[in-house]
């Protein structure tokens, strides 16, 4: 019996790590620009497809694929910021408008992907082959890689925003745009940087996801919803809250699957989320 518990725990940790990574890009954009990027899932999908194209279709290998995937999504992020967010900065309803423009961006990316890559399933090869045994439970080495990589990336992100000048400028802009401009920070460029970085993080999670799941144009839909759940739950506030929320959601999901089965789990997860929001409208840890 305990073997099942441990295996479920491992499953939860893998999910949590993946979700934390997925949500970090969304959270970075939210805390810096105050905007919710509906195209987040689609960017994950593009990252996966581009990596696949460079690595498999063009045969240039995984490293090249990774670089290409990150590069293309970062550029797309900057383009989205410039075309779909920047023109609306000064409008009073910027949040609603950018929700709709990023939703439109998502449609454009998804349908373009359908046109470019078609509907046939593709997959990225594993970066590490084989299985690994942890505490008696067996997971694939790729999944183990995810568990290791996600916290590393999050820590790197944390150090970046707290120690480096550029990273601090992101936080400053998120807290007080005018004051940031008045100490010499170029605010529009900072927004573009934040969006590019957030998009690249989405691309990275997409590439990792693409190595353990099939890549389709609809790859991003479920992660978007999961990332949404994580940031709502964690309160959209800080990176730490996002990471914590991700693991809670990951664990909850793993145990729900164990207890009520795959079919009922998504539904119950939502019920759980909505229940939390009724009692704490700003999320578990959060402030709006």
């Amino acid at each position: 019996m305990s073997a099942i518990i441990i295996s479920t725990l491992m499953s939860g940790i893998v999910l949590g790590a993946l979700y934390a990574l997925m949500a970090s890009g969304l959270s970075l954009i939210w805390t810096t620009l105050g905007v919710f990027n509906f195209a987040h899932g689609a960017l994950m999908m593009i990252g996966a497809f581009v990596a696949w194209t460079v690595s498999e279709a063009m045969g240039l290998g995984l490293v090249a694929g990774l670089i290409a995937g990150l590069g293309v999504t970062a550029i797309l992020g900057i383009v989205i910021e410039f075309l779909l967010i920047r023109p609306f900065y000064s409008k009073p309803n910027v949040l609603l408008i950018t929700t709709m423009t990023t939703l439109a961006a998502m449609i454009i990316l998804e349908k373009s992907a359908q046109m470019i890559w078609g509907a046939r399933l593709k997959q990225l090869p594993r970066m590490i082959e084989g299985d690994v045994s942890v505490l008696g439970a067996v997971i694939s080495a790729q999944e183990a890689l995810i568990i290791v990589l996600a916290p590393l990336v999050l820590i790197a992100l944390w150090q970046f925003t707290s120690r480096t000048t550029v990273g601090r400028s992101l936080r400053a802009v998120g807290q007080n745009q005018d004051a940031a401009a008045l100490i010499g920070i170029n605010v529009p460029m900072t927004f573009a940087l934040a969006f590019g970085l957030g998009a690249a993080l989405a691309g990275l999670s997409g590439i990792l996801l693409g190595s353990i799941r099939f890549i389709t144009p609809g790859l991003g839909a479920e992660p978007l919803v999961k990332a949404m759940i994580v940031v709502i739950f964690g309160g959209l506030g800080s990176l730490g809250a996002t990471a914590g929320a991700a693991f809670v959601i990951g664990m909850t999901e793993a145990f729900l699957i164990l207890v009520v089965g795959l079919y009922w789990t998504p539904f119950l997860l939502f019920v759980f989320l909505i229940a939390v929001l009724v009692f704490r409208p700003t999320g578990l840890f959060g402030k709006v």
Binding site: L96, I97, A104, I232, L236, I274, P281
Partner: protein
Amino acid sequence: MKRNLFLVLSLAVLLLVPLFVLDSFTRHLFILAFIYAIIASNWDISLGYCGVFNFGHMTFFATGVYTTAVMAKTFGINPWLAIPMGGATAAFVALIISAPVARLKGIYVVLVTFAFSQLALQLILSQSQITGGAEGMVRIPYLRIGDYKFTRDYKLGYYYAALSLLTCSTIFLLWLSQSPFGKSLQAVRDNEDYARARGISITRQRVLALVLSAVFTGIAGGFFAVYLRVASPEVLSFSTLSLALSMVLIGGAGTVIGPIIAAFVLIFATEAMAGIRGMEEMRFIIVAVGMIFVLRFTPGGLVKLVSGKRT
């Protein structure tokens, strides 16, 4: 009033259309346009008039679709009854959704209403014994009066049934927008603090707005299921969502006829494009780009929603 004159004339024209449009496909386009017009104009109650960032409107439509489908096919209830049942259930669902939503602010309203639509989608996909899951339900009973099947005469019956539904819905919306309730909704949207100071209960307004917006939307959903004889989870897809949302935005949130006109324009445009080879996905891209253009370039008048209203 110029607008009412316009509406009466349009109705007259639409009544006469079947005299000139004799083929099944074009009439089908009109029927689709009528249905989407109902969806879009009713969405405006919550989004445009009340200023609630409701992203879950399609949930009401889907509720209507599946309620009617299940009642008519699985339980054998007469479609004429099953369709209004769709509306009633949708209103009930709206009541449930509005409970958490009414007190939330800003982005959380978007996220939660959206989460509800995802929840509905999950429910539909997982309960496949009832709903047919990802494949949906087919062979839903059709409408008829006595021996007259509505599919006869190149869908003539369905055309007038859909048109009547749109007419009723529009009269309802026009009445609502002029009524004291409608005005109070706009008051809440335009200046929440002031409205509250005048004794208007924000929560109650939002609940009512959501519920009222669901009624005809649910009925339209039920009609949609019976007309197409199919119920599919596609109604909750992002593509459908963005199509309907574009109609509200391009047509002009906060007006009654705006979304209706936009529905006609977009349905005919997208279906015309679907016929061209290679355009199946492109047409959605075009609609999405259109949405962005409207948000960016159209001055405040067309899209009142985004010119300065708070939640």
